[in-house]
């Protein structure tokens, strides 16, 4: 390929920068609004930037809703789900990637078919299963009499604690490892579980990191499922908290709302900026979207 002309390069970079500005503009607008006084926000010919940084919107947001509690809930739920997903997906991915056992292919196809089922299709039954889960939330062993997992962490954690996507991702990774690894360990008399724990698990770290970051951010960003199973304010996650905090149309206080939006999106953006390599790899290999 010949070297493009200077003019061509200039157009290329201008295009890239203009698009970047357009993509980032809503973030800029969110941040500056969160730092403006109400008068600045509603000014007809207002400036793009606040005259001075007005942090009061953040304080107002904190006074109006239990944000510390929302954050605590989200951190607990997302962390536990992430640990579970990484552990169970490593286990299952190893079994499907490297062991042979009866019904292996049939089971794998069944799991893969499950990926095709949209969450909306199973939403109502899963809600009823969670609500009628035996021995939870005052339910008897038949799942009657109480509220089951509704309005508890269990509702947010248990259905998500293991998943086929993660298993598939780690299976692909395990399949790339050389076969000699476990053969020599087997000859040395290592048990199968020992081989998994001591030989294979340490090698899976890069793929596990990708899965961990993906799981954490997608649970953090999740909205539909928490909306359905959580109605008590003290159990809400940040996304649910944000949608409640918005309030009714017509009386929205944009300053505090944008402050809350900044707080809710910042953790994921920070994770993304520090670990982008994993996001990009994850999307490219599995096509899962955040």
């Amino acid at each position: 390929m010949q070297k493009p002309l200077l003019a061509g390069r200039l157009i290329l970079y201008s295009a890239c920068i203009l698009i970047a500005l357009a993509m980032l503009f809503p973030y800029f607008w969110m941040l500056t609004t969160s730092l403006k006084t109400t008068r600045e926000i509603f000014a007809v010919d207002g400036s793009m930037l606040p005259a001075q940084l007005y942090w009061e919107n953040y304080a107002k947001a904190f006074r109006a809703a239990p944000w510390d509690r929302f954050f605590q809930n989200s951190v607990i739920v997302a962390s536990i789900v992430t640990v579970g997903q990484v552990l169970f997906s490593s286990m299952g991915g190893y079994a499907f990637g490297r062991l042979s056992f009866p019904w292996k292919n049939g089971l794998f196809l069944l799991l893969l078919a499950g990926i095709m089922v949209p969450a909306e299709v199973t939403l109502i039954p899963v809600f009823l299963i969670v609500k009628n889960f035996p021995l939870f939330g005052g339910n008897d062993w038949l799942g009657q009499g109480g509220t089951g997992m509704l309005n508890t962490y269990s509702a947010l954690i248990v259905p998500k604690i293991a998943g086929v996507f993660g298993l598939f991702l780690l299976r692909q990774f395990f399949m790339t490892l050389p076969k000699e690894l476990e053969e020599s360990a087997r000859i040395d008399g290592c048990g199968e579980l020992r081989i998994f724990r001591s030989v294979m698990l340490p090698l899976v770290k890069p793929a596990a990191a990708t899965l961990a970051i993906f799981t954490f951010t997608s649970i953090w960003d999740e909205f539909f499922w928490p909306l359905v199973v959580i109605s008590e304010r003290s159990m809400m996650t940040v996304q649910l908290g944000l949608s409640v905090f918005k309030g009714v149309e017509g009386s929205i206080e944009w300053g505090p709302l944008m402050a809350a939006t900044v707080m809710v999106s910042l953790p994921v953006i920070v994770v993304f900026l520090f670990a982008q390599k994993y996001f990009v790899e994850g999307v490219a290999t599995t096509g899962i979207k955040g």
Binding site: M1, L12, Y13, A15, C16, I19, M23, L24, P26, W29, M30, F42, G84, L87, F88, M91, G92, A95, L99, S100, P102, L107, L111, V117, A119, E120, V121, T122, L123, I124, V126, F127, L128, I129, I161, A162, V164, L167, R186, F196, D221, F223, Q239, S243, K246, I252, W254, L257, T261, V264, S265, V268, I269, Q276, F279, V280, V283, A284, G287, G290
Partner: protein, 302 residues
């Protein structure tokens, strides 16, 4: 001993491996059975009942489906879902491919541009909806300020039944192009350099190379992107819930939002399950149509 293990030992080892394998897959399998497989069967069953949590759970045969046929809200939701998808998918496809081609031109600062374009993908739909709700605000929103500053009439955006869905398309495309761009980038990097070199030797122009080398070789990627974006768009919920609540006058009520309101506001779980079953069928149908169209074109090219 390592060369020829006696048959008994081999068998024992196999049995042990089977036991270990089943132990390892059991957590994922258990969660899958309880929270995916059983619910699929259960959802289908429920669509033939009048289940409403409180008083009824009678088998009513095809009544729910008959009711769908004459339900204007359902017809409207199908129309909204299809229109949203038909607007979002081509726009997203064209822009994400354009972005991938753009930043694949060996530019400096690739990491910066890629992050900038990808950032909306990792931001939650609820957070994004709040910001766009503010941008679209009819009285103080920035979009109206921009319109009036260049002398165009202001719009009511999300309050306008004729405009609300299109306004949401803009947000959806902005939020989604980064993900597809990354997938296209991976596809572009998989095209062998030799093909471009050969095309250059034949005197092909850049545009010609794009048309005759890049686009055909990206077909598998494109196929994947179209299907994933179609399925994802048909399942939209967060932006509808947070920005319009399905309104004004139902103009943004898609199938998923209709399922939500019927199941969890009116508690008509049986009827909502019938809508969910139709949505599932619709998604499968569009996937199959996509697949045959793309396959057909691939065969033509071959």
């Amino acid at each position: 001993m390592n060369a020829k293990a006696p048959g008994g030992l081999w068998k024992r080892q196999r049995r042990k491996q089977t036991a270990v394998a089943y132990f390892l897959i059991s957590p994922t399998l258990l969660i899958f059975l309880i929270f995916t497989l059983a619910p699929v069967v259960f959802a289908l069953y429920m669509s033939f009942t009048n289940y409403n949590i409180l008083s009824h759970k009678d088998w009513i045969g095809l009544d729910n489906y008959r009711r769908l046929a004459s339900d204007d809200d359902f017809a409207n939701a199908v129309r909204v879902t299809l229109q949203y998808t038909l607007e979002v998918v081509p726009l997203n496809l064209a822009i994400s491919l354009g972005l991938a081609l753009l930043i694949n031109m060996k530019i400096r600062g690739l990491a910066f541009f890629r992050s900038a374009y990808y950032m909306p993908v990792v931001t939650s739909m609820i957070a994004v909806s709040m910001v766009w709700l503010w941008l679209y605000d009819p009285t103080y929103g920035l979009f109206n300020k921009l319109l009036s500053s260049i002398g165009l009439p202001e719009q009511t955006w999300l309050k306008d039944p004729g405009l609300a869905l299109h306004a949401m398309v803009l947000l959806k495309v902005w939020k989604g192009v980064g993900a597809n761009m990354v997938i296209f980038l991976a596809g572009l990097q998989g095209i062998p350099k030799e093909l471009y070199e050969a095309a250059s030797l034949d005197g092909a122009s850049s545009l010609r190379k794009l048309w005759s080398v890049t686009i055909p070789l990206l077909r598998p990627t494109t196929f994947f992107v179209i299907i994933m974006t179609t399925i994802g768009t048909m399942q939209s919920f967060g932006e509808v819930y947070a920005m319009t609540g399905g309104g004004p006058i139902g103009s943004t009520t898609n199938l998923v939002y209709l399922i939500y309101t019927r199941a969890f506001e009116r508690m008509e779980m049986g009827y909502a399950s019938a809508i969910a079953t139709v949505l599932f069928a619709l998604i499968l149908l569009l996937t199959v149509i996509n697949m045959t169209l793309v396959r057909g074109k691939a065969d033509e090219a071959a």
